[in-house]
């Protein structure tokens, strides 16, 4: 039982260290998922039609506006314009304070890669997408 207490203490101490790095030292890319990783995960979730699970990639404000049905509709309209998404990648864009932009790079069967910029905001230390305007009109 002493070992369990030691593990709990280790986890708490490590979480404390991570909190100091993220909130105290303002880490935005090392101990948290960087903007491009968040964007890539979001677009991959949309590609796989996991609209309900996609909510976790949005800021609190955006979650109130972006429903799973809206995401399904936007994805369907996007694919009707550019073709079925077959490959997903992301590149980093700019970062200023708690705001950033990353670019989703979508590979389809019909045309060259389509680049979709998405805005992000840092919320509770983690990057979250602020809206889907970029996906609605690439």
């Amino acid at each position: 039982m002493r070992a369990i207490a030691a593990i709990v203490a280790l986890v708490m101490a490590t979480l404390g260290l991570v909190a100091v790095v993220v909130f105290g030292l303002g880490d935005r890319r090392t101990f948290v998922s960087p903007p491009e990783a968040v964007v890539e995960d979001l677009v991959r979730a949309l590609q796989c039609r996991r609209f309900r699970q996609s909510a976790k990639y949005f800021t609190r404000d955006a979650r109130a506006r972006v429903s799973p049905a809206l995401l399904a509709d936007v994805t369907a309209r996007l694919e009707s314009r550019i073709g079925r998404i077959e490959k997903v990648a992301a590149e980093d864009g700019w970062m200023a304070g708690d705001d950033a932009e990353a670019v989703a790079v979508l590979g389809t069967d019909q045309r060259d890669d389509v680049r979709v910029p998405l805005r992000l905001h840092r919320e509770k230390g983690e990057w979250r997408v602020v809206g889907i305007e970029g996906l609605a009109a690439p």
Binding site: I7, V8, L10, T14, L15, V18, R29, F31, S33, A37
Partner: protein, 169 residues
Amino acid sequence: MELHRIAIRVIFVYLVLLSLIRLSGKRTVSEGTAFSFVLALILGDMIDDALWAEVAMAQFVAAAGTLATVHLLVSWGASHSDWIDRLVSGTPALILADGRSRRDGLRGEQMSDKALDFEIRQEGVDKARWAEVSAAHVEASGHVSLLKAPWARPPQRRDKDAVLRKAGR
């Protein structure tokens, strides 16, 4: 993705895992029980996500810490209860007794006669000398262990003493 950030994450994940495994006991990743295999499998997947920043480091620490704690609780349960130990580690299966293969044991381990032949041969006993084996088990770790018949064991000092006693010296 900058290389130095990957290096920082690798070092951090390595140190966290090393500490967790050291604290959860030497047998945590000991060779091949179903128990440690499951732990290694889950940790392996977690590390991948943490190294490529697909999850925040705090999430990795919480997940790995929870896993280590659960593992420790199950180990503690197994060390205090035979029933839990049997449930998580399984029991040795008898596959050869007194030089003869045991059908029920082999079936239970999905082992063919050929596989049995191979396993026993690996222990240095070919089929012609199976009579020397009093019992062979597939242990919980998946390894095969052999018990030789008393007459087939290499002579010990006590055997010499017994012979001498018999001879009246």
